[in-house]
């Protein structure tokens, strides 16, 4: 089998389990991982495409995509002296060798690789990726960042972020997705699995800023042990199509999540986020605030589900969604769901608003000398302000505000 590390695999329609196996062995991957890739590929090959009513992948032509057999763009930003405190922040391929048992114990356990065709494809083909481990009671002030970059000319990337926080660990982690506009349709299929140890605290931001023509089909999951807390910020600005299944599993007693989302869909973009929030622990708490702006012919979907499951007690949850339509051709759908399978719920609230920019707000600001265009810009960036405000890094906040303003 002729497989060179830095050369792409054959196109998906010609790719076989044998190609994957040869590449994995050439990369020195352990047997269990080789087997997992093969199982996942088997699943991908035989599974029917998922029936997603609001995500259209027609333009993608995945069968002609030639995936990379090696990482193409994983940029890690951190202070390497932090390694002295026991923190591991490395490429996932390196971590498979250096911290095999830790990776093996967690990889693929929050998101079932065999859930559907695309989760299987991700598990079979990931090369880019990071492993972040923060030991017990280690607390970091400076955010750690990874930037996944689709290489020019590449038509696929399958990044994998695996994050494990020890007991009482505290960290901020930012993952960013970026590329130039892709000349041919490209597939970005990232996986993010995060495990929050007892009493740990996480600030997590996922920032999707792909260039045009990128189809993002992602899976994200956070699993909470007792008293773990997380602030999760989901930003969707780029790409052609986005379909993110994002799950938070509040299984530890007293765990809590605050989740902020900002989606800005314009031109022909179709950006979907499907959060699933599972309350299974005792006295868990969640607050979701998803904000959407649609412009030109943009289309966004919030397909959210909160489950308050049988084992839970005293759950508090509140969901807010707000959307602004800047153009008559823009659309947004919201499908909030709540399933309760217990008699013991402390509080479950929901609020939503949707509409154009308020003319009274515009008049008020104009009456102070601010032009209509500037007033609109201020109102729109102000609308995202509570989301951006939750980001752990000022420079990221500013660049996102600027990116939104530039596209108004």
């Amino acid at each position: 089998m002729d497989t060179h590390l830095n050369h792409p695999f054959p196109p998906l329609q010609a790719l076989t389990s044998a190609h994957l196996e040869a590449a994995a062995r050439a990369n020195g991957e352990p047997e269990w991982l080789v087997q997992r890739r093969k199982d996942a590929w088997e699943c991908f090959s035989h599974a029917a495409p998922p029936e997603w009513r609001r995500t259209n992948l027609k333009g993608l032509e995945p069968e002609t995509i030639e995936p990379f057999a090696a990482p193409q763009g994983t940029g890690i930003l951190w202070d390497e002296t932090l390694a002295e405190r026991g923190i591991i922040f490395s490429s996932l391929t390196a971590a498979v060798r250096s911290h095999e048992s830790q990776v093996r114990a967690t990889l693929g356990t929050a998101i079932d690789p065999l859930r559907h065709k695309f989760s299987a494809l991700r598990a079979a083909l990931w090369q880019d990726g990071i492993f972040l481990f923060v030991p017990d009671n280690v607390s970091l002030d400076i955010p750690l960042r990874v930037c996944y970059i689709l290489a020019d000319g590449s038509r696929a990337i399958f990044p994998y972020s695996l994050v494990v926080l020890g007991r009482g660990a505290k960290v901020a982690f930012i993952e960013e997705f970026t590329s130039h506009d892709a000349p041919a349709p490209a597939l970005a299929a990232p996986t993010t699995e995060i495990f929050l140890g007892e009493g740990s605290s996480l600030q997590f931001a996922s920032i999707q800023q792909w260039g045009a023509n990128v189809y993002h089909i992602g899976g994200q999951s956070q699993v909470f042990d007792r008293d773990a807390t997380s602030t999760w910020v989901s930003i969707a600005l780029g790409g052609q199509v986005q379909h993110i299944e994002a799950e938070a599993h509040l299984r530890g007693a007293g765990s809590s999540l605050t989740w902020h989302g900002a989606t800005f869909a314009r031109k022909q973009q179709r950006l979907l986020t499907a959060p699933l929030l599972r309350h299974t622990g005792v006295h868990t708490e969640s607050h979701l605030d998803f904000r959407t702006i649609v412009h030109e012919s943009g289309y966004s979907v919030f397909d959210g589900m909160i489950t308050i499951e049988h084992a839970s007690r005293g759950t508090v949850t509140r969901l807010e969604e707000h959307s602004i339509h800047l153009s008559p051709g823009a659309r947004s759908d919201s499908i909030p769901g709540l399933k309760i399978d217990t008699n013991d719920v402390a509080q479950a609230g929901h609020a939503s608003t949707s509409g154009q920019i308020d003319e009274e707000q515009l008049f008020y600001m104009q009456s102070r000398g601010i032009s209509r265009a500037d007033a609109m810009r201020m109102i729109v960036t102000g609308f995202f302000e509570p989301v951006f405000d939750a980001l752990p890094l000022e420079e990221v906040r500013e660049s996102l505000s600027a990116a939104v303003e530039a596209n108004l």
Binding site: F363, Q366, S367, G369, S371, T381, G382
Partner: protein, 268 residues
Amino acid sequence: MTGELVVKDVYVTVGTEQILNGVNLVVRPGTVHAIMGPNGSGKSTLANTIAGHPGYTVTSGEIWYQGQNILELEPDERSKLGIFLAFQYPVAVPGVTVANFLRAALNAHRAVEGTDPKETAVPIPEFRTMLREGMQRLEMDQAFARRYLNDGFSGGEKKRLEILQMSMLKPGLAVLDETDSGLDIDALRIVANGVNSLMALTAQSAPNARMSALVITHYQRLLNYIKPDVVSIMMDGRVVREGGPELALELEEKGYDWIRGEVVAHGE
């Protein structure tokens, strides 16, 4: 005179309803001109029409200020010409802080066509000082500056913020639309001081462009604190009586029915 506001036979409709039926009014520079009238007489419609609210359609008439028929101007252009409306119901804009909003407004006023707005923008230290001093004068908590514009503000806080904006933008003509409604006596005093001191300031610093105020109120109460030079009474979308400060007192004593009776008796 260019600093005059001249309202000439103005007719205004809102939706399909005609609200103003030929309003005539002149506000002279350096004067306080009170407009009183019962609810629904068109006072607030006049205020919003002067400021250029898009929901108010002027079907006939003219409004002149600084040598221009301002009906052709956008609300922001009117503001830059020197017109300021203190809203009866200030609008909340979540996500936009008081400080950022005020700075944007000031910079819009300072901008000069053909010049980079960065060059005319107020330097941030200077702005901070202006804001701090303005808030002190109005006895406002400094934490106000970081709050979102009118978002969750009490009625009194909103009205103080209107006066703070006025004091920073230093308009040639301030239109106060029922600024006294919902204020207790202390807040009323503070707000009135804000208006009076700004008028006194322009009387000294700009004797040729003295600020004038069009004070719209339902009650005489505010006029104890801001002394009017002229009082106009509106009814059914028109000015039906005009006089000196004594007219407000007479109105307070006899009530609006007295005016209504007079207007009918004179066949107006």
